[in-house]
């Protein structure tokens, strides 16, 4: 297999809330087409990392670069940083400095979609409406920023039908087609999780950030989620960044795992390597630093 291209590069990311250091000098890369998992004990700073990447927080320090197309553009990263631009586009691809973009621009321009740990759907709107809102910017342009659509000019009708077809595809894919005209809040928990993923996918992302997608799912729903994520990666050319507590999900589908503890990266590698990393075991089992070696010895024995 050829060298994998980078889609996301996080460098020296720090986030402080007053005196609390939530993320401390974190650097990692996510490769194109990979499922990269970020794991760690409660309070390790995983969701903070997500909020920095998706523009909800402005990091205290650090740089977050997202690449569209050819990652050779990363050679220009220092140049772009120095000029103070938010992003550049060349014929080969585009480079976005996410820490400089506003939250909605991260989704609109850099095409990073996300889901939330505590599901955030538009509960009073139907499933179909939820998926159309995800295509807002495309439809806004098609409606001539409302003026054309209001007067019935332009190709708004066509654009809306295309948007509905796309929504129908994702509803079908997530097994929610039967409930298309029901309110999102009336769905059971597991279905709400799937709908949130479908909604994120309707915004045409290159990077999909999932914050604990398997939380609260039963074993069968967890399996279905794995299949869904694998097929999204395979068929839609989307890279996935995943926060997860469910080790079943993480170990089965991730290509690479980044482990955080107290805001620092303690391990980074393939699932097999991370699983046997003594530091990771220590972080999860809560052993003192000195005992780590002992635990590792016991495990390898």
């Amino acid at each position: 297999m050829a060298r994998q291209e980078t889609i996301l590069r996080v460098e020296h990311l720090s986030m402080k809330f007053g005196g609390l250091v939530a993320v401390d000098d974190l650097s990692f890369e996510a490769k194109k087409g990979d499922i990269t998992a970020i794991i760690g004990p409660n309070g390790a700073g995983k969701t903070t990392v997500f909020n920095c990447i998706t523009g909800f927080y402005k990091p205290t320090e650090g740089r977050i670069a997202l690449v569209h197309g050819d990652d050779s553009i990363l050679t220009r990263i220092d140049n772009v940083t120095a000029t103070g631009k938010q992003w550049v586009r060349t014929r080969q691809g585009a480079l976005f400095l996410l820490e400089r973009l506003q939250d909605f621009k991260v989704s609109e321009l850099a095409r990073v979609a996300r889901t939330f740990q505590n599901i955030r759907l538009f509960g009073g709107m139907t499933l179909l409406e939820n998926l159309l809102i995800a295509q807002h910017n495309k439809l806004m342009r098609a409606s001539g920023y409302t003026f054309g659509g209001l007067l019935g000019l332009g190709g708004y009708g066509k654009a809306e039908r295309a948007a509905i077809d796309k929504a129908r595809y994702w509803l079908d894919k997530t097994g929610l087609l039967d409930r298309a005209d029901d309110a999102a809040a009336s769905l059971p928990y597991g279905a709400q999780r799937r709908l949130e993923i479908a909604r994120a996918m309707c915004s045409d992302p290159v990077l999909l950030c999932l914050d604990e997608p398997a939380a609260g799912l039963n074993a069968r729903e967890g399996e279905e989620l794995n299949e869904l994520l694998l097929s999204i990666r395979k068929e839609h050319d989307v890279s996935i960044l995943l926060i997860e507590h469910d080790m079943g999900v993480v170990m089965q589908i991730s290509d690479r795992i980044v482990v955080l503890d107290y805001g620092r990266k303690i391990a980074d590698g393939s699932p097999a390597a991370v699983r046997s990393d003594p530091k990771v075991i220590a972080a999860y089992l809560g052993v003192e630093e000195e005992e780590t070696d002992e635990v590792a010895k016991e495990l390898s024995a």
């Binding site: 909605f104 955030r120 509960g123 009073g124 409406e129 409302t146 005209d181 009336s186």
Partner: protein
Amino acid sequence: MASTDTAAPVQTPPGAAPVEPSPVRQPHPAIALLKDAAMWAAVTFILTFPIVGFKTVARGGRYVFDNNVDVVLGLTAFVFLGRILLNLTIWRKPKTATARAASGTVLDTGWAAKARRLLVPVMLVVAVTYPFLAVWASGGLVTGRYWVDLGVLVMTYVLLGWGLNIVVGLAGLLDLGYVAFYAVGAYTFALLTMNFGLSFWMCLPIAGIIAALFGVVLGFPVLRLRGDYLAIVTLAFGEIIRLVLINWREFTGGASGINQIPRPSFFGLEFIPSGPTSFAEFFGIAFSPVHRLIFFYYVILALALVVLVVTIRLRRLPIGRAWEALREDEIACRSLGISVVNTKLTAFALGAMFGGFAGTVFAARQGYISPTDFTFIQSAFIVAIVVLGGLGSNLGIVLSSLVLIGGIEMLRNLGFVKAIFGSGFDPVQYRMLIFGIVMVIIMVWKPRGLISSRAPTVFLKEKKRVGADMISEGHG
């Protein structure tokens, strides 16, 4: 979903064998009914006695207290009988948990949907023919004047309600200073037409645009505010506009306002008794000042219908869906690439523009405006109309305008209630009390407004209305 027998009186946990409920001695239904009614009558008596039980009477050049107990007793009897009546009719349905849960997901079928489908065309026909109906039913132009005037008043509030509905009902931004835009529209028209001689039809779009600009001016500082905080700032904004109108005497005429605003014409025909441009002479009919009022009624009806069509279309466009999405969850909106700034500002601007239109018509109809026309109570009325109508529902706003504005006017004509409450009862004096009671009753009966369910903007197979308990009220 599995269908559950809603009529089952006792809920048994799933899997458990049905247990015979332990026999509780139920009192005879008739006795329970009387007991319940008596209790409510007693509460009414205790509550109304200090408020209604005394009246001041001028006797020998000074005011003295006189007792007014017959009215109190009348009210008590009214509540007693009303309670029995309601218990026997509307409230008979068992209020089981399943029945309540089932009411959450509303299918748009059954009599309610049919009634709604019928209601809208009927209301449209009545609205279009109303002035003629009013004149015909009251037996002449002179006696019909009151009714046409009332129609104009109700329509003005419908228009205001529809404007505010975009801000409060769709975008979920509680605006307590909406009357400011009404004032901006009215003063824009008055000042332009007085100083530059622009016609009503020229001023109408200008007033709308200027009101929209004021909407954006209000919108910017409150972008980051939510809920109660937003409500307080908008309230202050309304007061600022009013105080500026009072104190900037050279520009706005101060507290005495602007009078003798020129009246709009009907395609160049003026509503004057005689002359070459007289409406009455041109059509060869006898002059009546009511013609102008009827003309105003149609102007505001046309405006309202335009606003209605625009609102309905906007709801189905991405901007309208973004407003509703904003009401449901602002953070999710941001994660989907929706600019919260643009979405909020367009909602404020458009709502303000409709308020500006209403203000222009108001100023043209009155011919005289002053800051006292634009007090906080007006804002409160408009918010009450939107909330009572059901957030987001255009039909609900029409209904609640009819109830709140039309109904409260109707209380002036309720001579017959004297027969119930005794001859000392003057319903006009109790208008605000009755108004308050009506509001409380509607909110208890329908906590989310008269029409609380929401029609989806788009559907794949069947259109199901979304129940009120699913919809978020918005956080500001």
